[in-house]
Symmetry: C2
């Protein structure tokens, strides 16, 4: 079943775990998952869906658009991860209760809300689906770990290449990438928050990527002519994204 068909059939949750273990979900579970979304809403750019320290009686499924998971220190925003459609972005707060971070919209966003009562029910009578919920939150942990390493390892231009490669791959998993790149509402300022660099330095880093022909970033779109080159420059090894059909061999370090 193609991503498009799946999304047509399940317009609110059809991208959840798409390209990963979605195939483990039975038709009944997909139906149930879709029914979990009590209501949907369209949010404007910059809207903070949930703020650090808050508790919530529901969690948020990202249906369309981009989000950033952020922390703030000394009046500087740090983005610790980003999110694409299909991500159950703040499922964390179901188990954690109060949240330790913020979830911010980038561009216009469509979300669905899942009451925690309904998740409690799932944990009672569908341990298999519950385990997949758990899995989806641990994906965030795995991505955090990769970011920590790349932050320590890479210079700004390479780190941006890594971020581009990750976004591209994740959009691809949910059927939202093109063959020559992808669309994104992220600004250079957002990228700076993701890199832990200043917007000025990110600008120079992007200029270098453009000059060397690795990637071209303009407002709203990233274009790449040679994907392998991008991924090699950013030392990108997608194993931490837990995509379907990743052979064990590819899981080891790309550069042995």
């Amino acid at each position: 079943m193609s991503s498009l068909e799946e999304f047509a059939r399940y317009p609110k949750t059809g991208r959840f775990l798409a390209g990963r273990v979605r195939s483990a979900l039975s038709a009944a579970e997909r139906e149930r998952m879709e029914a979990l979304v009590a209501e949907t809403e369209v949010l404007e750019h910059g809207r903070r869906v949930i703020a650090r320290g808050q508790t919530s009686d529901h969690s948020t499924m990202l249906i369309e658009g981009f989000m950033l998971r952020t922390l703030v220190a000394d009046n500087r925003r740090h983005a610790v991860s980003f999110h694409v459609p299909g991500d159950f972005v703040d499922l964390h707060c179901f188990a954690l209760q109060r949240l330790d971070h913020n979830i911010d919209c980038v561009g216009q966003v469509k979300v669905g809300y899942v009451p925690h009562d309904a998740i409690v029910q799932v944990m009672r009578d569908d341990p298999q689906l519950a385990r997949l919920f758990w899995f989806s939150t641990l994906l965030d942990a795995a991505m955090h770990r990769e970011w920590i390493m790349k932050l320590e390892q890479l210079t700004a231009p390479r780190r941006i290449a890594h971020i581009f490669a990750e976004i591209w791959q994740r959009l691809e998993m949910v059927g939202l990438a093109q063959s020559d790149g992808f669309d994104t509402p992220l600004t250079q300022i957002d990228l700076a928050d993701m890199c832990g660099a200043t917007a000025i330095h990110v600008n120079r880093a992007i200029a270098e990527l453009r000059k060397t022909g690795i990637a071209d970033f303009r407002r709203g779109r990233v274009v790449v002519s040679d994907r392998d080159r991008l991924e090699e420059f950013g030392d990108f090894n997608p194993s931490y994204l837990y995509a379907d059909e990743a052979p064990a061999a590819e899981f080891s370090q790309r550069r042995a």
Copy 2:
């Protein structure tokens, strides 16, 4: 009930979630938890408990000693988090199946093994305990997020102060800290792997902490005379550790 009594009664799992939501566990659940540990083992320094890419049919409870969660890139080890007794260190691999990182022993370590079959049973008939397992893995994600931010925000001396503050607090939660500091088998090289800095630079950073009287680190022990000063220097706000009884007010940024 003191930490010592709890650990005497439950010698394998008495520190699990101690200082956090352990109080949410009923006596029956504590007994069940203790019984989950099928066998224990003592491991020597440097032993890799589980390696990136592996799957496992059990998870590991850290009973005594320290561990590091590591990734390797370009022959450089990066520690993305550390672990103290009571941590269910590789519970991640229950939901993730194959693991994206390594778990390494620092110093001599005592561990307990929990078969995944037993965890499946818990998910079937004790959703409350299952939710606490989930919670414990999300703690790691929260700590990763804080590390990302601190890595971007702090210089090496401050980052080391932050790491000392975190270790101290976490040891305290499981009853293993002293009033003037704590014992740890970590070396300057380990600290460098945790900071994303070279051992040489970490050495200079530690020298600065010593000179300014903020902290004294010698093989096996960290001594601090003024804890508030350490925490302020490292911009340490413990809310991300989800300790018990954290009032909502303390959850907001310390430096507003």
